[in-house]
């Protein structure tokens, strides 16, 4: 098959120019006949089919982008100096196998209407189909070298913009253009806009064997992809301008789903209240029980800090899931403690509680017992001693414990993921969002959330430190008097 390929190489064009011009004249004369041809006709394999020309433009000219404007949404392209343009571009990355004409053919789904320009990209060549009526109405002349070249450059530009990592078609040297709905080249037959099912149109690819019968295309013959577009007048094409730096930033920020921020605020805000109260209560009561019991209680309360967060989450899932009566009861009453927002609060409280507990207990233990006894001799109740004496005296340590617990609850990831899952708007907190976006390839959003959480944490900790400093100043001032 090297001779026909040799014919089409650009370097040979000059030598066979005269022959090519003659072929074009013949094609132009046969064009009306081809337009009226029945879609089921099979042309001869090697003779240029009536209505088809081949472009011998070298590949590098095809990527000349000076007079080519591609829309920012990658769906349309405008060619300077050309009466037609392309719109509604779609790239079909994969086709399907289907029984066509008695053989296992390969086909691409076009849609429920005819009239699209199709390009099927195979290895080493591409076939472009322009419906005859569309060619006439848009002024596209399939025998004109410049028209074909313009269409080729437009398709190459859009194909590259929509490739998404798939194979590009620009390097193929041989492009065949046709307005007939059936075209044969390189031992294969291409059918266009064929109604294989009622109301559904497909482009089909079949291999033609030596006897002229149909066969399934081999792996090497299978097309890599197909593209479809609408040919529209140049003045009517819808080109979206490339956004400026500011516009893309604004659209990026506008396109982010901010629910992780609200979920994190709700979760951490609720969790820190529970942590604060439970931590203080646990610290206070653990000092009033016998020493042996104190050690055991201390170990139990500190375990969640020592266990890996994923283990904590797993244990909570076992405890509150379908495996236990408690879990089943909660699920049945419609308030599940797993894979729901309360689960995020539970996970945050369980992992951050030990920090609060230990800080508060250390603070209470370091209080001067004489002062507490003196208050008791004055007749103060335990409750009054706690709220009016112990808390204010230990406030610094308690505040730092709160900061630690807050930071831990804010950054909780493993236990939340296990117990609450990753449901957008319900349980996706910022740390989970960062991981999820990064792992799905959306680096920009991941970095955005990282910056948000850094700023947020910084502000909160700064506020708590400043508030603590005010208390210190008051106490220092009181001490100096």
């Amino acid at each position: 098959m090297s001779d026909p390929l040799f014919w089409m190489f650009g370097g040979c064009m000059k030598r066979y120019a005269g022959l090519l011009v003659a072929a074009c004249v013949v094609a132009a004369l046969c064009l009306p006949g081809a337009a009226l041809a029945n879609g089921e006709d099979v042309g001869d394999g090697d003779v240029p089919h009536a209505g088809a020309t081949s472009s011998s433009i070298p590949a590098d000219e095809a990527t000349n982008a000076e007079d080519l404007v591609v829309s920012a949404d990658n769906a349309a392209v405008y060619i300077e100096g050309s009466p037609f343009a392309l719109d509604s571009f779609m790239r079909a990355q994969v086709g399907g196998s289907r029984q066509i004409d008695g053989a296992d053919g390969y086909c691409y789904y076009v849609g429920t209407a005819v009239g699209s320009v199709s390009m099927i990209a195979c290895s080493g060549f591409a076939v472009v189909y322009v419906p005859a009526d569309v060619a006439v109405s848009q002024g596209f002349d399939v025998s004109s070298q410049s028209d074909c070249s313009a269409l080729r450059r437009a398709l190459v530009a859009l194909d590259e913009a929509n490739a998404n990592g798939g194979r590009l078609v620009a390097d193929d040297a041989n492009w065949y253009f046709t307005t007939a709905s059936s075209y044969s080249v390189q031992g294969m037959e291409f059918g266009f806009d064929r109604e294989l099912k009622s109301g559904q149109f497909y482009d089909t690819v079949l291999a033609v064997d030596v006897q002229g019968g149909y066969a399934a295309p081999s792996e090497a013959q299978k097309p890599s992809h197909a593209c479809f577009a609408q040919m529209v007048p140049a003045g009517e094409v819808n080109i979206v301008a490339q956004p400026s730096w500011w516009e893309s930033t604004v659209s990026f920020l506008g396109g982010i789903d901010y629910s992780p921020l609200w979920v994190t605020l709700k979760t951490t805000g609720t969790a820190i209240i529970f942590i604060f109260i439970l931590g203080l209560a646990a610290a206070y009561f653990s000092l009033r029980i016998p020493p042996r019991a104190q050690d055991i209680a201390d170990s139990i309360f500190t375990i969640p800090m020592v266990l890996p967060p994923t283990v904590c989450g797993f244990l909570l899932l076992l405890a509150f899931g379908r495996n236990t009566p408690v879990g089943r009861w909660f699920i049945d009453i419609g308030f599940p403690l797993i894979f729901s927002w309360p689960a995020t609060v539970i996970a945050a409280v369980v992992v951050a509680f030990p920090l609060m507990y230990r800080s508060a207990r250390g603070a209470f233990e370091s209080l001067d017992p004489d002062m507490l006894d003196a208050a008791r001799t004055l007749g103060w109740s335990n409750k009054r001693i706690f709220f009016k004496l112990m808390l204010p005296l230990a406030w610094n340590n308690i505040a730092s414990g709160t900061v630690l617990a807050f930071a831990r609850a804010l950054g909780e990831f493993g236990a939340t993921l296990f117990l609450a899952g990753n449901y957008l708007g319900v349980t996706r907190t910022i740390p989970i969002a960062i991981y999820f976006e990064w792992m799905n390839g959306d680096n920009a959003t991941a970095i955005f959330w990282t910056v948000v959480i850094i700023i947020f944490s910084f502000i909160v900790i700064l506020f708590i430190n400043l508030w603590g400093r005010r208390t210190m100043r008051y106490r220092k001032g009181a001490g100096e008097r």
Binding site: V94, I273, G421
Partner: protein
């Protein structure tokens, strides 16, 4: 005295705020990731156009992430009473684990027959609704910016030149990759079978991949693709469709289809659903609607005819 009152007021305000948040969170959290049960009894198809709102929860294989999102928004345009809870795109094995842990779902789409069989055995899906949705192909990819690597085959991987990333046992893409690697001696099944007869689970990496650091196991096919995109590994075994949805990777070789089991995506309606008819309607729409078929084709999923 005044200072204490201020402090007390501040604490009360915080508690009130937290209470409001908690109530709001409970209200939205309790309802939104459960299918609405009150409306399901009225959502049968009927001649009149009045439909009660329905929320569907889909558990779909990780590789379907971008394609299924587009399908869902397309479906909502023509079926305005249907909305979708946050669709979970995880590895098929992880989806089964979620169902085991007590999560609720209406539709399950797995990436392998084996994982769907596991779901059927455990009673999560209604086997009468099960059918095959897509086919896919396994390819070897590398980072787009990796100019030194342009083509690769299983034999190249077996020679130990490249670090590879594959899915772990819960990821069907990992199972298929291990089946293919067993044909070149890089993965050894417990019973020694190779290729499409192997399961791709329960074995060990052998030959050139046995060395430490040669294989990176990931929990979903998207994570596997990420390893290649970020350059952490040279070669990743992913589906063809992942190249298009992920971006930043390029195909350097196709894994021969006869070295692994056929890649089929079965879909089914779950047993815990309260919207069985709406779920079935959505699945039928995905297989027959014209715009739906165009979207699957755009993202690289070959329909089962």
């Amino acid at each position: 005295m005044k200072k204490h009152t201020k402090a007390l007021a501040a604490v009360l305000a915080c508690v009130a705020l937290a209470g409001v948040f908690a109530l709001a969170g409970c209200a939205s959290g309790g309802a939104s990731n459960q299918s609405t049960d009150t409306s399901s009894s009225q959502s049968n198809s009927s001649a009149d156009s009045q439909h009660s709102p329905v929320t569907l929860q889909i558990f779909a294989a990780n590789s379907l992430s971008k394609a299924m999102e587009e399908e869902e928004s397309l479906y909502k345009e023509s079926h305005s009473w249907v909305s979708f809870d946050d669709t979970q795109y995880k590895s098929s094995g992880e989806l089964n684990d979620l169902l085991a842990g007590g999560a609720s779902a209406d539709i399950l789409i797995s990436a392998s027959k084996g994982k769907m069989d596991d779901a059927a055995t455990a009673g999560y899906i209604d086997s009468s609704t099960r059918f095959d949705m897509f086919k896919n192909d396994l390819v070897m990819v590398t980072s787009e910016s990796n100019t030194s690597l342009t083509s690769c085959s299983l034999a190249d991987v077996a020679s130990g030149k490249y670090k590879v990333a594959v899915g772990d046992e819960s990821v069907p893409a990992g199972n298929y990759a291990c089946q293919s690697l067993s044909t070149v001696g890089c993965y050894t099944e417990p019973d020694g079978t190779v290729g499409s007869k192997a399961t791709g689970m329960g074995g060990v990496f052998s030959g050139a991949l046995a060395g430490s650091g040669m294989v990176s196991l990931q929990t979903s096919v998207g994570n596997v693709c990420k390893q290649a995109q970020s350059g952490d590994v040279d070669i990743a075994f992913v589906y063809t469709s992942d190249v298009y949805r992920f971006g930043g990777v390029k195909v350097v070789g196709t894994v021969p289809a006869d070295t692994h089991k056929p890649i089929i995506y079965p879909a089914a309606v779950t047993t815990r659903t309260t919207n069985a008819q709406e779920s079935q309607d959505f699945l039928n729409w995905c297989m027959t609607d014209s715009t739906a078929l165009q979207v699957w084709q755009k993202w690289g999923f070959e329909m089962m005819s």
